[in-house]
Amino acid sequence: MNTIVSLLYNAVLNGTPLMFGTMGEVLTEKSGNLNLGVEGMMYMGGAIGLAGAFYYEKMAGSAANGIVAILIALLLAFIAGAIGALIFSFITISMRANQNVTGLALTIFGTGVGQFIGEYMRTKEGGYVVVGNGLKNFFQASPFPKALQDIPVAGKLIFGHNIFVYLGIIIAVIMAIYMNRTRFGLNLRAVGESPATADAAGINVTRYKYLATVIGGGISAIGGMVYIMTIAGCVWNHEGLAGEGWLAVALVIFCLWKPISAMWGSTLFGALLIMYLRVRLPIPSEIYKILPYVVTVAVLIITSLRKKKENQPPESLGLSYFREDR
């Protein structure tokens, strides 16, 4: 029983960065933009988010407020990702360059920027960048009162998570309502499916693409910050994000471009990522550790076999649009 509760708890913990990465990319892809730069944007978000919290604490000293630190980290991570996505948008939407190449370039760029900032801080601060224990607790502990958390089983699984889990759920619900119930969401879906149709209907295709991609990039980057501040223990290490961004890109397909499904999907992948620590199987741990990547390949194969029209990617995904093209 304890093993299962602990596995589920840690699955959610490890799935949260993926959830942000996935939701951001869902929003981006709904507008018809395939941004493969998720890994890069998450890197930037992680490094800059950490930097924000770290230097805030350094300046404020003992007066540092946890809530303020979280807000600063969130905001800086979002802006970092949004800037990355803005570069991507300009190159692919305005300049109509190939989205795949641009996305890969953004990943290389973002990884580099993230590593640079991380390493710069590390050497500058004497080889070790870590946020103090007081602030760390704000990032990693549950925002709910202890009484709620002490309820057996449910307490830990429902009220025991860090604040970003709940923030992610709120964003997922808002995104789902936005996309399925509002006028703007409908317009956004039309832009991703058929920009020519949307354009003829009087929708500003460029504006929708820019906004969705930039906001999506910001949300993805928050995932990077969440990874560094929770799983990685508020410390910059050389490994960085270890491919979380790429898992997020695959998860988008697995979740059929639905924000609500991103919650279940990321939890499942969170479980796969840590299963080797929690559930012993008689196989070498090196092979056990590649499980999430093997499942990713399997998922992509299985999902590509689906036939239902609603479960297909946005029809014009990856294509640039120019009204006067003929």
């Binding site: 409908l186 039309a190 020519a196 949307a198 209907a201 029209k309 029809e315 003929r326």
Partner: protein, 513 residues
């Protein structure tokens, strides 16, 4: 008439790269009138109308709406001015429902009220006797339903000016009749209607006035009641054109293809062809009629070796050769045996041509194996490209200009011209004149007839029943992948074929002949 003027275009010009699509065009559109815009392919009809619908912005000239100068820089502006356009290729999102497509892009409350939208759509449907379910997804709709939805979309936005670009190209005769009734109804309501079409009998039946464009320039207008198809054609082309299709009796027809029990199941597991049997004779044109998507594409592709065949046989007998079964042969073997396929898909570049290449490059796609060693032959394809450009009057700055940038009709000429040039013994063509103007269409009909007289078995999948009836010796009607009947092109009527297209008349086969 002056008060009734809804739209006036004054000295409008538009250039694409090196091609002048419209030059100094002036045109008036009146309320309560149906105007038909005529012109050959590439004469700039669609471009002109796209400037009204906000897709393109004129390089020069001015547009007046209800007497006031208007700047239409986007489709949204056009809708604000009450101009709605129904494009040749429908602008619908296929995974959305009818109602969702209708309200796309409209301003209003943040949250959607689909019930209210459905109610308004039902109202419009009752007003014009449409039958559309607001919750139906577009991918489940037939072509005519999609078109109805496009019209509802425009009416929902309270448009006063309706522009339809070749609306009847994909409709059955019965559906066309319904559409015309609706348009007449709208004319009665005082709406201004512009219809772009190549079918002159439709113009005679429906329109009040015609405006003619030639090579991007306005050449004049006629009142329909004072004119006839011959005069309109001459005006379009700029010289006298013979408007009848020569149909010589087949000379010594011999069996070329004998298809028995052909069944094809597509990759989604849907039966696209069901036990199709027929013969195609050398020296004869076999027409194939049917609603779009009844299995025409699959039939031709199966013969060309591009579709996996579930069961059945395709026995091919070359002019002086042994009969052989084409089932199981590769497309290359079939092509080398003398069976050619010129398929013009809905997006003309989708199959057969490479958009980024010029005419020469596209000719080489058929002859790339002919060179020595690893090098391709360039001079023959260049000569062929020049010849096609001459003969079919392809409007292109030069033969190496990317075909993607040519107008649709010109792209098609390149495709059909190339296939005919291979001098096959079975020539299959689908929608060879789709969207082509009258002059080029007749050129292509005559090319088909020339092929027939050479002893080629011509299989001609067409959309325009009038043409099929004039051109073909026999007409096979497909209904939902089954042969609904084979009729004699000389005696059959349009109504008869129209009915066969919409319902299966039992084990028709050759009995109706």
């Amino acid at each position: 008439m002056q008060d009734n003027c809804s739209i006036e275009m004054r000295n409008v010009s538009k250039t694409f790269g090196r091609i002048k699509a419209n030059q100094d065009v002036s045109l008036k559109i009146y309320k309560g009138e149906i105007l038909s815009l005529l012109g050959e392919n590439g004469s700039g009809k669609t471009t002109l109308m796209n400037m009204l619908s906000g897709i393109y912005f004129p390089d020069e000239g001015q547009i007046f709406v209800n007497g006031k100068p208007a700047s239409i820089t986007s489709p949204k502006d056009a809708l604000k001015q009450g101009i709605g356009m129904i494009h040749q290729h429908f602008k619908l999102v296929s995974v959305l429902s009818a109602a969702e497509n209708v309200i796309l892009g409209l301003d209003g409350s943040l949250m959607l009220d689909m019930k209210e939208v459905s109610r308004k759509i039902t109202e419009i449907c009752e007003r014009y006797h449409f039958n559309v379910d607001p919750d139906k997804k577009v991918y489940d709709m037939s072509v005519s339903e999609k078109q109805t939805l496009e019209i509802i979309k425009v009416l929902y936005r309270d448009a006063d000016v309706l522009i339809l670009d070749e609306p009847t190209a994909v409709l059955t005769p019965q559906e066309t009749e319904r559409l015309f009734d609706v348009l007449r109804e709208m004319r009665k309501d005082g709406k201004a209607i512009v219809i772009i079409t190549h079918k002159l009998h439709e113009v005679m039946e429906l329109a009040d006035r015609v405006a003619v464009l030639r090579k991007g320039k306005f050449v004049g207008e006629l009142m329909v009641k004072d004119t006839n198809p011959q005069e309109m054609t001459n005006m379009m082309v700029g010289r006298t054109v013979m408007l009848n299709i020569d149909r010589p009796e087949p000379v010594n027809p011999t069996e070329r293809l004998n298809i028995q029990g052909l069944t094809v199941i597509n990759e989604d597991g849907v039966k696209k062809l069901d036990n199709v049997s027929f013969t195609a004779m050398g020296g004869e044109i076999l027409g194939i009629a049917g609603i779009a998507g009844s299995g025409q594409k699959e039939l031709l592709e199966a013969v060309a070796g591009l579709q996996p065949i579930k069961s059945g046989s395709i026995i091919y007998t070359p002019e002086n050769g042994e009969s052989e079964d084409l089932v199981g042969k590769t497309p290359m073997q079939i092509k080398n045996a003398g069976v050619a396929l010129a398929f013009v898909p809905e997006d003309r570049l989708g199959m057969g041509l490479v958009g980024g290449m010029g005419m020469t490059g596209n000719m080489m796609l058929r002859s790339w194996q002919k060179g020595k060693g690893m090098f391709v032959h360039r001079s023959d394809p260049t000569a062929l490209a020049e010849e096609i450009k001459e003969k079919l009057e392809v409007m292109t700055p030069d033969i190496n200009y990317p075909v993607r940038r040519l107008s649709g009709g010109n792209v098609q000429k390149v495709l059909v011209g190339r296939e005919i040039a291979t001098a096959p013994s079975v020539m299959m063509s689908a929608y060879a004149v789709r969207g082509l103007d009258i002059n080029t269409s007749y050129t292509i009909y005559n090319l088909m007839t020339t092929q027939k007289m050479k002893g080629t078995a011509v299989i001609f999948v067409g959309e325009d029943l009038d043409v099929l009836l004039e051109l073909c010796d026999r007409i096979l009607v497909l209904y939902d992948g089954k042969v609904s009947g084979i009729v004699d092109g000389r005696t059959a009527t349009k109504e008869q074929i129209g009915l066969m297209m919409t319902r299966f008349e039992g084990e028709g086969g050759e009995k109706n002949e």
